[in-house]
């Protein structure tokens, strides 16, 4: 990774405290804490979102898809999951759902009170299920 490709904040955390301000550093923090700080950032977002997505797929969606694949649709399991949260984190959630990196800037929007749907589609020519997303961005109604 190029140093010029990382943000100035990372730059300060990684270089300045370690090499030039170690006294100041020890007064406020230890190296472990600093390393934790550098790991926060979009990577931490990815970690916690991937954990939740895995939980949803393991506990709900994979058993439901297996049931559908077994050819007994009448025994299909309830499989809708609701996630209520916030603007930025849900855009990142949708990005991780389709396997995109958070740092790629998910080019989708969800306005306040908006509802989006993430689901699975069959890849053409195979039975394999892949993740998909569709956002009902304008589906907020005024009373």
């Amino acid at each position: 990774m190029s140093w010029w490709g990382v943000s100035l904040d990372f730059f300060c955390y990684l270089l300045i405290p370690h090499h030039f301000h170690s006294n100041f550093l020890s007064a406020t923090n230890d190296n472990g804490r600093l390393l934790t700080n550098t790991n926060r950032s979009p990577q931490q977002i990815t970690t916690r979102l991937d954990r939740l997505i895995k939980e949803i797929r393991t506990n709900v969606h994979e058993p439901a898809l297996a049931q559908i694949a077994s050819g007994k649709p009448e025994k299909a399991l309830p499989s809708d999951v609701i996630v209520v949260a916030h603007g930025h984190i849900l855009r990142a959630f949708a990005a991780r759902w389709v396997g995109r990196a958070v740092h790629d800037n998910p080019s989708l929007l969800l306005e306040a009170g908006g509802i989006g749907t993430l689901r699975y589609v069959k890849r053409v020519g195979s039975g394999e299920m892949v993740w998909s997303e569709h956002v009902y961005n304008k589906l907020t109604f005024c009373a």
Binding site: L52, I56, V60, V81, A85, H86, A112, G113
Partner: protein, 168 residues
């Protein structure tokens, strides 16, 4: 009719004062605006219910951010759609404090009966889906952040790749 293919409904909480004027709201716990609540109820009536997008019998799990604006959005959507058997932790109490809980229910609470009575599912409150921790940028707008970074000689900001100092 068999349930549809597995889905996740991602729902953004309703309007707040800060979402209106573009201030980044991460950890700060601010309420929905009256207009935001009105629109959530309308959305719930339109999209939640037996013949709507979100149908009770198809729901397998519910996750919600710990922030009040998210819990309230969920509680109001379910209520507007006539779904009464999914508990949203913290939502009933908030309604009671605002004097909106009906007398019968209040009486039950006073008698010490389990307020979860009749609830078949509990929404899971999880930190995994809290808003991006904006750190030093909490409560300020993108325009202000841009100006701050310019004054400090920092490069143009992209939250997706740069994150937030002191946050995520």
């Amino acid at each position: 009719m068999p349930p549809p293919q597995p889905r996740v409904f991602i729902i953004r909480h309703g309007e707040t004062e800060w979402s209106l004027n573009g201030r980044h709201t991460g950890t700060t716990d601010i309420p929905l605006t009256p207009a935001g609540e009105k629109r959530i109820l309308a959305t719930g009536r339109a999209l939640v219910g037996p013949d709507r997008l979100i149908v009770r019998d198809n729901i397998a799990a519910v996750y919600v951010s710990p922030r009040t604006r998210a819990r309230r959005t969920l509680g109001m959507l379910l209520e507007a759609g006539g779904i009464g058997d999914i508990e949203v932790p913290g939502f009933e109490r908030a309604r009671k404090e605002q004097g909106k809980v009906d007398d019968e229910r209040e009486a039950k609470v006073e008698l010490g009966e389990d307020s979860r009575e009749g609830k078949d599912m509990v929404a899971k409150v999880t930190e995994d889906i809290v808003e991006w921790d904006y750190g030093e940028y909490e409560g300020i707008t993108s325009k202000e952040i841009k100006q701050m970074r310019k004054e400090k000689g920092e490069k143009e900001w992209d939250i997706w790749s740069d994150g937030c100092p002191g946050g995520e």
